[in-house]
């Protein structure tokens, strides 16, 4: 498939050695829960992988819970921590207004079905959590708060959130962070962040689809979502996906992600896009951002139209969020940053990854002026 792929934040190519590790494991017989020879072999591979991941995430091996996705990791943490705390009389769930749907929706579900009160913490115009708000919220209602969940970096703008500061403000309150976009892109240490729980997803960093991790502090017991064999600390049941786990660990050890080089391409793109398209501006420009993500607003356009036209020019990028029917909706992230509905529907996310080159950047910039011109014409008819 030819073309320019600028959607690495959606998913990024799997690393060759991760593919090889997965392929080898797929050919290996054995359920890691079995006690016989084959089972023990697979169990060893899984536990080796767990230790590798623990090292990469700076946590204990026993703190790693394998799940089938980042979404499952978020659901397990948010619902589990809420249920645990609800029993102690706490029912407020604090999340940022810019969370991914994998956090927004479990929180909304808790509000609808479990009596939770969800507080959406606002962000600044640069898309970073408003710490003053959080501070005063905790001061006023700290005893009611069951958990705080704030993503490590935003998937639409790349803005990195002040998790360590949030943990400080939270005090005894459990903090969960969705680090799906951050792992292997920026330094990430479970221990130094001080969070209670952290989620990652393998396919965002060169691993396979269908495997995620919830890092949950040792000794913390939360109710499970999936009941069965009790494989993962009785918090997550289901036969362990050994091939995907091994591939994830292989990808986690990779050293080829050159953050500085990717950030350079990203910055070059950001600087030039505002030159070739008058009126365009970069969102969260002043925030500390992930190296690979740039979100640009093109006033006077509709981003679903732009996406179609960019695809026609063989450039793949993204708008952000879509509902189940696939109908384009304004980005809640940009709205939280102060955009109005129209402006929040006029933005594209370009995300760069390990395989991105300067040629990709140049190629996308070459087609953008004509795409934006057609997009603007289509939005006024």
């Amino acid at each position: 498939m030819s073309g320019i792929y600028l959607d690495h934040a959606a998913t990024t190519p799997m690393l060759e050695n991760a593919i090889a590790a997965m392929d080898a494991q797929l050919r290996t017989l054995g359920n890691p829960s079995s006690l016989h020879t084959q089972g023990r072999h697979t169990r060893k591979d899984v536990e080796d992988a767990r230790e590798i991941l623990a090292k990469e995430l700076d946590c204990l091996a026993s703190e790693i819970i394998f799940t089938a996705s980042g979404t499952e990791a978020n659901n397990t943490a948010i619902k589990g921590l809420f249920w645990q705390q609800k029993a102690l009389g706490k029912n407020v769930v604090v999340i940022s207004a810019i969370e991914h749907h994998a956090t927004l929706d479990p929180a909304a579900w808790l509000a609808e079905h479990e009596g939770a009160e969800v507080v959406y913490a606002p962000v600044t115009t640069d898309g970073v959590l408003d710490l003053d708000f959080l501070q005063s919220l905790v001061a006023k209602r700290g005893s009611e708060i069951a958990l705080i969940s704030v993503m490590h970096a935003n998937n639409e703008t790349g803005a990195i959130q002040p998790i360590a500061e949030i943990v400080k403000i939270a005090g005894d309150i459990a903090v969960h962070t969705d680090a799906a976009q951050s792992f292997k892109k920026v330094p990430l240490s479970f221990k130094s962040l001080g969070v209670m729980a952290l989620s990652i997803s393998a396919h965002k960093m060169g691993g396979p689809l269908g495997i995620g991790v919830l890092v949950l502090r040792r000794g913390v017991e939360i109710p499970a979502l999936l009941h069965g064999g009790g494989q993962e600390r009785e918090i997550r049941s289901g036969t362990l996906n050994a091939p995907a786990i091994v591939a994830l660990a292989t990808a986690a050890q990779d050293k080829t992600y050159d953050a500085a080089a990717i950030a350079k391409i990203r910055d070059d793109f950001a600087a030039r896009v505002t030159q070739v398209v008058p009126g365009a501006f970069v969102n969260a420009l002043k925030a500390d951002r992930l190296p690979g993500i740039v979100n640009v607003t093109f006033p006077g356009t509709q981003s679903d139209t732009l996406l179609l036209l960019m695809d026609g020019e063989k450039v793949s990028c993204s708008t952000g969020s879509a509902c189940s029917a696939g109908v384009h909706r304004p980005s809640h992230v940009l709205m939280a940053m102060g955009h109005d509905e129209i402006s929040a529907m006029s933005s594209l996310r370009f995300s760069f990854g390990r395989t991105s080159t300067q040629t990709d950047c140049d190629g996308a910039l070459a087609v953008l002026p004509s795409v934006i011109a057609r997009g603007r014409a289509a939005s006024v008819v």
Binding site: D304, T305, L307, L308, L309, D311, G312, S324, A325, G326, V327, H328, R374, G375, A377, A378, V380, V381
Partner: protein, 357 residues
């Protein structure tokens, strides 16, 4: 050409898109989301643009191998089609929303947007044909007369017809289903959609009552004598016989039919069958699908319902209204419907019926 294929999730639009690709065009599939609050599943043969339909359309596009997008046209659809439907009924007329959708959505909002984006036209699965002749591109009936949809396309201007591609006009529906099967399209046996897509229950009267309210009004005979009551004049159609609930019998025991709906006084006038007969109709806001019509009296056919008969007539344009004088009288014609003039198989044009005699 660079084309947008409007894909409803049904078999016709899927085959139309596939044929357009095969003809060498550069095609992108687009599903129109027409409801801001779509239902998850289709209920029977009714409705469209459910989430299931958009999934079916996407799957067809993937099988055909073309890009696929969903365009949100819910606001345009509500303003141009649903509100028109309600206000027409409220005014005592009988609208055809499919025709309005073609006029205001598929070949207006969608075609305009497509052209602005650099596309040349819109492909749909309508059963109709176009021909290129000395008068340019003209609109014609489909080969399969039982499925012919030229009636609901008769509101298209020449400019819109120039941007419309109807790849199915030369084939029967039966063969389209076979072809869909051969192409590996899972929608091959999906039931046809009927009725009005935004009234999924199929109960038009109930739907209108929920939105326009129900106000009791009189049912009167032609002398003005009240012989019954109704719950909203707009739920009746000219020529309707059933559901009147009149207990006073006629002198000769013959049935009564709705002759007239008077929205201002919320009155339904009923009478004998022969009172329904009309031999002349006039239509406002005419649209010509080819060379214009003038005051010169021409022989042709007029059709007044989507799948009605083509009635022999003499037609002309009096400068304001399109007039058709029928050879044989017609029973029960509601204003608000479209009168579509045919010259053989060619659609000459159409107008909205405003007067009958």
């Amino acid at each position: 050409m660079k084309l947008i294929a409007a894909m409803s999730g049904g078999v016709d639009s899927a085959v139309a898109a596939a044929r357009a690709v095969e003809a060498g065009h550069d095609v992108i599939g687009v599903h129109l989301a027409l409801s801001s609050n779509p239902q998850k599943y289709r209920s029977g043969a009714r409705g469209c643009c459910t989430i299931e339909d958009s999934h079916d359309a996407r799957r067809a596009a993937d099988v055909i191998g073309i890009p696929f997008y969903i365009w949100d046209m819910a606001e345009e659809f509500h303003a141009g089609v649903v509100e028109d439907f309600m206000s027409e009924y409220a005014a005592g007329r009988t609208p055809n929303p499919c025709l309005r959708c073609n006029e205001k959505i598929k070949f207006a909002a969608v075609l305009d947007r497509a052209r602005a984006m650099g596309f040349d036209g819109v492909v749909t699965g309508h059963y109709a044909r176009t021909e290129i002749g000395p008068d340019g591109k003209t609109l014609h009936r489909a080969v399969d007369h039982s499925k012919d949809q030229s009636y609901v396309l008769s509101v298209l201007t020449i400019e819109q017809i120039n941007g419309a591609i109807f790849p199915l006009g030369d084939t029967t529906k039966v063969d389209i289903r076979k072809e869909a099967e051969q192409r590996g399209l899972a929608v091959a046996q999906k039931p046809d959609s009927h009725d009005i897509c935004f009234v999924p229950s199929g109960d038009n009267a109930g739907w209108l009552r929920d939105r326009l309210g129900s106000e009791v009004g009189p049912i009167v005979d032609q002398d003005g004598t009240k012989i019954g009551e109704h719950n909203g004049a707009y739920t009746y159609t000219i020529g309707q016989r059933k559901g009147l609930g009149i207990t006073v019998p006629t002198a000769d025991g013959s049935p009564r039919f709705v002759l007239k709906i008077e929205p201002v006084t919320n009155t339904v006038v009923v009478g004998a069958r022969e009172e329904l007969a009309i031999s002349k109709m006039k239509g406002e806001r005419p649209v010509w699908c080819g060379p214009g019509v003038d005051n010169y009296h021409k022989r042709g056919f007029v059709q007044v319902r989507a799948h009605g008969a083509a009635l022999a007539c003499t037609y002309y344009f009096d400068g304001t209204l399109l007039v058709a004088e029928l050879d044989e009288p017609l029973l029960g014609l509601a204003t608000g419907q479209a009168m579509v003039i045919y010259d053989g198989d060619r659609v000459v044009g159409s107008a909205t019926i405003c007067e009958t005699a």
